[in-house]
């Protein structure tokens, strides 16, 4: 696709390219060390040892025990396993029937609790957010009931970049004896993700958000947390996630997480400077524009905007034709004509909420890219508005 050659990629919240160092680390595990980690022969043991090495690497980064890591096929699967696994375990033991979450979770959480409510009769409370997308920990505390099984609050929002006070919420959950799950999928490589620091009992990550491969994620499960497997099969991942293990992907995840953590401080400082210039430039050059999400408590690489009287999807397609990859809202919701439910939850009126644009920076971006988008975007918005 030669149309991609000159593309400027500003959609790192949707996905990232795999780091060449990660590709190199994964290379031996396709055709050379290809064994099934459950096999007892030498080839299987070699795979098992790579798997356990990756688990140790991840545990070191997260500051947890290797046995607390469950590798999954995606971040979505990790969120599903956390919520459904806890809910089913509660149903099995007859203890608890209530889940607490927020109004701006990713569908991986939102649709899962909806299904638990509609098909299994669990009760769900969704805590609201303020105009910046922040959850008030007091609201979470007030939502917890004696029969609450889990509180699930995302660490950082994918659409508006707002970072939640998860450690504080986790502390409340701990005091009340309720499991705390956080979807940290947008946060890895950008914020500290050690579960102990966040008071999290469960935490979901996805490798492709931090320069690892697609199709692999993980769920941290604090020892002693009751969790039923939702896939049934063999003994892989201690029976919590049966299915032949994606050794190459998991090696990639481990390497990528390690690199992301090593480079986090310098890379986030660099991206924050670029992002601030980007935000400043957009708000200055485009009348009728505003930042969505929290101005300070936001992901370092993440800039999200709303433009008055402009349709976000048209902005994105025009940028694409101009060689700039961006997104309107979440990548998974692309093509939905209705205003994003996240922006509605933040209280944006329709005049603003259909005109959303997310620009998320990454490794390859530099000042020239920021200059380029600042050159192109004002003209696109102006032309779309001129068309009425």
């Amino acid at each position: 696709m030669d149309r991609l050659e000159r593309h400027i990629y500003l959609d790192h919240s949707a996905t990232t390219p795999v780091d060449p160092r990660v590709v190199a680390a994964m290379a031996p595990y396709w055709s050379e060390i290809f064994g099934n980690s459950e096999s007892s022969h030498a080839m299987g043991q070699a795979a098992a040892s790579a798997l356990e090495q990756a688990r140790q690497t991840v545990a070191d980064v997260l500051g947890c025990r290797p046995a607390e890591i469950v590798f999954t096929g995606s971040g979505t699967e990790a969120d599903n396993l956390a919520l459904r696994g806890l809910a089913w375990a509660a149903r099995q033991s007859g203890r608890g029937n209530h889940l607490v979450t927020t109004s701006i979770e990713h569908h991986a959480v939102g649709h899962t609790v909806d299904q638990l409510r509609d098909l299994f009769g669990f009760q769900v409370t969704r805590v609201p957010v303020d105009e910046y997308g922040r959850v008030d920990p007091d609201d979470v505390a007030a939502a917890i009931r004696p029969d609450t099984i889990v509180v699930s609050v995302m660490y950082a929002n994918n659409e508006v970049g707002t970072v939640q006070p998860v450690a504080e919420i986790g502390q409340i959950c701990r005091e009340r004896g309720v499991a705390f799950h956080t979807d940290a999928i947008q946060a890895a490589g950008r914020l500290p993700v050690a579960p102990d620091g966040l008071n999290a009992d469960l935490l979901a990550l996805s490798a492709h958000k931090f320069y690892g491969p697609k199709g692999v994620g993980l769920l941290y499960v604090r020892r002693g947390t009751p969790l039923l497997s939702t896939i049934t099969g063999g003994a892989h991942e201690r029976g919590r996630r049966p299915g032949t293990v994606n050794v190459a992907g998991i090696v990639g995840l481990g390497t990528a997480l390690c690199l992301a953590e090593e480079e986090r401080a310098t890379e986030t400082a660099r991206l924050r400077r670029l992002r601030d210039r980007l935000i400043e430039g957009v708000l200055e050059r485009i009348p009728g524009s505003r930042l969505t999400g929290h101005p300070a408590q936001r992901l370092a690489h993440h800039a999200s905007f709303a433009f008055q009287r402009v349709e976000g999807e048209s902005v994105v397609l025009n940028l694409d034709l101009a060689g700039i990859a961006a997104s309107s809202g979440a990548a998974c919701a692309e093509g939905e004509p209705e205003p994003s439910f996240v922006l509605v939850a933040l209280g944006l009126t329709p005049e603003w909420s259909v005109g959303s644009l997310r620009l998320s920076l990454g490794h390859a971006n530099d000042e020239a890219d920021v200059a380029r988008i600042l050159e192109v975007l004002p003209g696109v918005v102006r032309r779309l508005r001129a068309r009425g």
């Binding site: 030669d2 025009n318 694409d320 101009a322 004509p337 209705e338 779309l384």
Partner: protein, 385 residues
């Protein structure tokens, strides 16, 4: 990636042109996953346009078991085919979601019309509000000068206004469905297949190795799961199917019908009424939930009223005029005298009696090959007995 000979624009510097807002010959092609839109796109690429492929995601009736039809658009397979076409031509491809407006403007219209005892044609409002409404808007917002579709029809510019003409292939001519377009819409559309026959289009597709060259025709209303609107209504609007009386024009009850949406004016089959001579549906009376039937001669009419008249030229004629009229898609055009009436209505008198006048269908007026406009056929005013 293989590229079309004339699409070889080495530097692709049109990107900077858009940024300056100059357009530079950009067009949006509405791809459907079928052969016609694919050939339209290929022809425009060869002519040196900067082509952008767009497909609309429309509302579709949820599939019922194995009944889903292979040639329906908007199915994931159709989207895949459209994307393969775009990849083969090396043009951008975007899917635009129009489910909600399509449901409101087209699907709900179908239900409302059947509920009112009329026989609708959903392609006409779809072309007016979705394809050449929402999609044209999106195309212009992308900096395109025109929206290109695979319709068999022609547009000609005469001085400062636009004529809509029949497609040269009279077997495929789709001008009937486009009669509700406005001057503003016609100014921004291109129909590259208008001068071609279907065979020529297939031949072009084969010669260029387009992946959809042998794609079967799609015929029916695109959003139906199995092609049968009666099944659709039975699932989506079951309240419309209430059995009621079948009466003759004298008011005698001859039998019982299965629910009015199952019938169309002019229908003979499926009445299940024993009579000396063949009986036809003459009228559908939702207010009384009654079906009125009678012999063939009572079906004939020499005049009708047409509502919501739209004239492509823009202005409503001031005096009666001669034209030919098509009272449904694929009907033979027949000579008429049209008398414009206040309130966007018209009185149409036919030179020869017509049997197929169906309330809800569109009557489209032509002057030779030129589409003059059209409107909705109203219920016949029958003398009450």
């Amino acid at each position: 990636m293989k590229r079309m000979a004339n699409g070889e624009r080495a530097d692709r510097d049109w990107r900077s042109e858009i940024e300056e807002g100059q357009g530079g010959g950009r067009v949006v092609v509405a791809l459907s996953g079928g052969v016609d839109s694919a050939v339209a796109a290929a022809l425009l690429v060869e002519q040196g346009y900067q082509v952008v492929g767009v497909m609309l995601r429309l509302w579709a009736e949820p599939g019922r078991g194995d009944e889903a039809r292979a040639n329906r658009c908007c199915l994931p397979e159709a989207v895949d085919r459209a994307r393969r076409v775009a990849d083969g031509l090396d043009i951008p491809f975007y899917l635009i979601n129009a489910e909600t407006p399509f449901k409101a403007q087209v699907v709900d219209y179908l239900v409302v019309e059947y509920a009112a005892g009329r026989t609708p044609n959903p392609c006409v409002p779809c072309n007016r509000t979705i394809r050449f409404g929402l999609l044209l808007e999106r195309a212009l917002a992308l900096g395109a000068e025109s929206l290109v579709t695979g319709h068999y029809a022609r547009v000609q510019k005469v001085e400062d206004h636009y004529l809509l003409l029949r497609g040269c292939d009279l077997h495929k001519d789709q001008s009937y469905f486009l009669h509700a377009l406005t001057q503003e819409q016609l100014a921004h559309v291109l129909f590259p297949l208008g001068e071609l026959t279907k065979q020529e289009v297939r031949a072009i597709a084969r010669r260029r190795g387009l992946p959809v060259a042998e794609q079967p025709e799609s015929q029916d209303i695109c959003f139906l799961a199995d092609g049968d609107y009666r099944h659709f209504l039975a699932h989506q609007a079951p309240h419309l199917f209430r059995p009621g009386p079948i009466r003759d024009t004298a008011g005698r009850v001859l039998g019982q019908h299965r629910g009015l949406p199952a019938y169309t004016v002019g229908q003979r089959k499926g009445l299940r009424v024993a009579a000396a001579e063949p009986l036809y549906v003459l009228a559908i009376e939702p207010a009384e939930n009654a079906l009125i039937v009678g012999p063939a001669q009572e079906l004939s009419q020499v005049e009708c009223l047409v509502a919501e008249m739209h004239y492509i030229g823009g202005a409503t004629p001031m005096v009666p005029f001669q034209a030919t009229a098509q009272i449904r898609y694929r009907a033979r055009a027949t000579e008429v005298t049209v008398t414009p009436l206040p309130g966007q209505a018209a009185h149409v008198r036919f030179l020869s009696p017509q049997r197929g006048l169906t309330p809800g269908q569109f009557l489209v007026l032509y002057d030779g090959e030129v589409v003059l406009g059209g409107g909705v056929i109203c219920k016949a005013q029958r003398p009450m007995l």
